[in-house]
Symmetry: D2
């Protein structure tokens, strides 16, 4: 049987090159088109020289995909740009997996409040599935537009889902996250200038980071009791990876000794969630679609502590997008995603 023809819309960023890295060896697809408006006409391997000899195909304009008979497209575009594509191509037959934040939130109003931007395609919200397969597998399978989750939200939501789902915790939750620098994108700016990051560490976006609402929104969809999330991101002097350290408190009457079993039951059939007996490190998951989760209860303080680790470019972006594609096409979810962690 012939392979599915895939388009990657947006080639120059990290999600674009990471999609290419994963899709290149996916047994059921071929990368039929990679687009870039700023670099069209150049080879993909001119933009990303490490692909020399691996992907030398020419970058095309977005306008050229019309007649290509694509089976699915990934949008590796910035926030605010994806919505234009989705709007214009809403009638096209292929499913769209959007890696931006444009369709992740509950309503256009919430989007506009947290993204400070008018949304041009409000109709998209009701048709979009939020693409965390572990939580919304059924919905993903039947939707044509997938809002691929943010990197921080993926780590926080997978860490909290078992507790939120069962309504086991008090409403006030702390998510203290630390991310590698690729999360800030491919564009050079002062915040990611090497001497500003190397041997350094700081928090940013305190109280105001957009992923706050994405985490809250999603947890409140799966659980009964509304949670309020205090989310604080920090910039690590590493390339990839997110560790989220999550603090919550059991509701009165909850059998805290069951925390291990709760996670076990929730994730027992998930190929990409590994429960660990030690706090997971970034390099345990680097380059892979795994989310490693450690959870424990502290009797002395009456807190649950949950620690999750993902690769922000894989489970936090391109890998999860491919997992969603596998779901959409009814394939084994792990196709193309069996990388071994790069450690060291």
């Amino acid at each position: 049987m012939s392979k599915k023809k895939i388009g990657i819309i947006g080639a120059t960023g990290y999600t674009g090159s990471e999609l290419a890295r994963i899709l290149l060896h996916h047994p059921e697809v071929e990368i039929a088109a990679i687009t870039s408006e700023s670099r069209k006409g150049e080879r993909f391997s001119e933009v990303h020289p490490f692909f020399r000899g691996l992907i030398d195909q020419e970058l095309i304009s977005i306008n050229e995909i019309e007649n290509m008979d694509l089976d699915l497209v990934f949008l590796a575009l910035p926030h605010g740009v994806s919505m234009d594509f989705v709007k214009e191509h809403a009638a096209d037959p292929y499913p769209i997996i959007d890696l931006s934040g444009d369709f992740r939130l509950d309503t256009p109003e919430i989007y506009e409040a947290w993204y400070n931007k008018e949304h041009v395609y409000k109709e998209g919200f009701e048709n979009a599935a939020y693409g965390i397969p572990e939580l919304f597998r059924k919905d993903i399978r039947r939707k044509k537009l997938i809002a691929n989750p943010g990197c921080y939200p993926t780590s926080a939501i997978l860490g909290l889902a078992p507790l939120a789902k069962e309504g086991l915790i008090e409403p006030n939750v702390v998510v203290d996250s630390k991310s590698g620098t690729t999360g800030a994108g491919v564009k050079a700016k002062a915040a990611t200038h090497f001497p500003n990051v190397n041997d350094n560490f700081r928090a940013y976006g305190v109280k105001s980071h957009r992923h706050t609402i994405e985490i809250e929104d999603t947890l409140n969809k799966i659980g009964d009791a509304p949670l309020t999330v205090q989310f604080t991101p920090h910039l690590l002097p590493v390339d990839r990876g997110i560790v989220s350290t999550i603090y919550s408190r059991p509701r009165p009457g909850v059998d805290v000794s069951q925390i291990g079993d709760i996670y076990e039951a929730y994730y027992k059939d998930e190929p990409f969630v590994r429960l660990t007996d030690q706090p997971p490190a970034i390099k345990d998951v680097r380059g892979t679609n795994y989310c490693d989760i450690y959870s424990t209860y502290d009797e002395r303080t009456n807190n649950f502590i949950t620690i999750s680790a993902i690769d922000n470019l894989v489970k936090g972006a391109a890998g999860q997008a491919v997992q969603n594609m596998n779901l959409i096409f009814g394939w084994d979810e792990i196709l193309g995603l069996q990388q071994v962690p790069m450690n060291p």
Copy 2:
């Protein structure tokens, strides 16, 4: 007037070399003795080649300090070794500033519970001052034994003191700390092997780190209402520095809008605490005795968020020890401690 004669007991570790770095240019002291049992007879600059031409004096045995007429000694010894020195030298006339954890806690019983070790000099506890000048200046001035604080506790306690002192917060506090690798000491081990740390990140000591009790103990000394601290340390791929992100909740009735003023009032005369309007970064304080603190209130979640940054080897160890020495001798507290942050 002649300079005070100072002894550094323990030369091979980071606190030893950092004390030397600071004391070398202190205008009122001379480094009269540096001891090392394992390297005695060698020059200090053979152990630390970067001191070549700066400190080439010979390392001596601890036994040789008896007749040296020292004015003060710093103990840069491991936990469990310091107590032996203090016991044997309790009758000596010079003040001792102990950089280990041996006399920091409230009682020998608490020590033995958290350090898993019998304490050989229980009498030391009542005579020791806990050496955070910003909190215990008066006590430090009149004691002969200073328990120089742990690095994590310094960052957490300075961050929380204004809130704890005034009894403004609920008992359950989260301290999520991230430290550079020098905090783990000079000895090579798997946990600090370069490929295990570089481009990596992880939590450790969850629920059980000894600094937990040091933080709690101290905060409960200065405040009315007992606090319980959930302390989680993490290992950063950086050399120096600690950032602590601290989450607490105001007690009912507290005027949360005053948080800025509370910190301002508490620290307004402190030369080494700088209040910032942005989350501080490690490199803002690297190489210096500063503790930079940012604090804010999140209306949406009803949480206080406080973020502090120190250099673990300076304000978290050798610098604070020198600050304590300055207090003991009645000097200006900033003598020898006016380094400019090394950035980048």
Copy 3:
């Protein structure tokens, strides 16, 4: 057809885990045995937790492989230990690919001079093929013992081979190499303690590094005119990767304008050598079996400058070993080795 049964002798080091990473997805082999004397009885994923769920098989003792009917073994053992294995198993039917330095040099005498160690199996030398496929493909195919090359030598030899083969250069060659820290092995020691490597850089082994003779020996096997190599290794604050900057001078009469063509002709059919028009970076090859090579001639100085980049754990160790295995079994040389560079 059934898969070949492979043994990995020595599981705890970086070459062991890297072999496992590559062989796990090799379509024609199964990892039948992984041995470790110090950790036998434990799971492979207990020693390397990032393999959790991927390779959970039990580590066995080397003594247990006798009756396993293995088709090939890789020796991921330290220098000086491999030779014992080879000696004892010389009569066994399976080919051995030895990743140590024990059989790389020309004669036992040279070995003993540079390794300061008596060699227990001198007979091995004449039966061993030096495992750089690009140079010795034919020899590798017909030998039962492969001396897998050192990491630095691989980078230097592939960089110089086209010039050495044709006798185009003067005898005095400078190889200035810079390596990631994994090259120093998995064992924690002062030289690889994080604070000694991070944000730091230095040369080591000046004039005396053992790889000097391996480079010279090999180049002199393929070329007419003897070369003398000044090899200086340096330790980079990175995990993986070697960049070698190589300086040589054309012999009188050599047509220096042909340097590009010479490399092109020499490597045109090699799947793992990529010629570049810019100096290659470590991340261009990280995680892969590629050797990227840039070469140029400087008219002003009359020097050739050649720069090569490899991943020391892949093309410099485990990947090249798998490439040699592919040759031995007559498979396509790229089987199992099609990883895309991990960048970033």
Copy 4:
């Protein structure tokens, strides 16, 4: 006696902030003016928040220095901008120490050839002293314009000077240099984007870097025999520091066993050159004005190998500039420059 009034022209870059770091504690000067056209009106500590509480003075425009009666100015301006300042202020009474490359080369013609830029103040060349005190102390003392050397040239020239001075080496010299990222300046660009540098390494500017001619020019001023320098810079994933590994060959008849004595004799009275018996590391000199030099002869290859290490922002820029100022004012050369290396 009153302190000398110093101006720093250009505040936003690394040389500007590093000058401020050093001058702040210089006992004989006060920082009377710091200029910035882009940030004038802001405080210095707004541009560099780590100076909060240390240097909070307001940045002024370059136009405002006219009536300030400055005693000396440092130009921390980009190449091509400095020359304008020097031209306009040539008649002003104060000495100028220019940290750019605008007056370092022998003639305007050479400048224009290597910098691809017309020079607007050709008269400046004959009046400028090249500011390496170890080589040109007398000249520096009597000139009013100091061309402060480039960072790479400082490391290369100090490494080679003893050999070049005495005419001991063959003309063809290889300088293989590795530099921290601050050498590329404060401005964020793709080449210094964190994920492009971290865990990575590469050469750049092969055959064409401007510092090539600065090294050659200067060495040829002090020695009898003309040298040709093959200079290859590489970008290290570190903040600060340069290590240059230098390869040269003795002329026939040279007594190679004397290499140690030659360096010893040449540098014996220099406060900032330390000769070492091991290859120096960046952290041995970080934050200081030291140049550590190791030199050796390899009998096997008949090469001299010299390795030098400096901090590119100190001995390679601001520190050497202050050393030049000390010379100009007839002060002890080490004033303000006694920092202890920051290690780790």
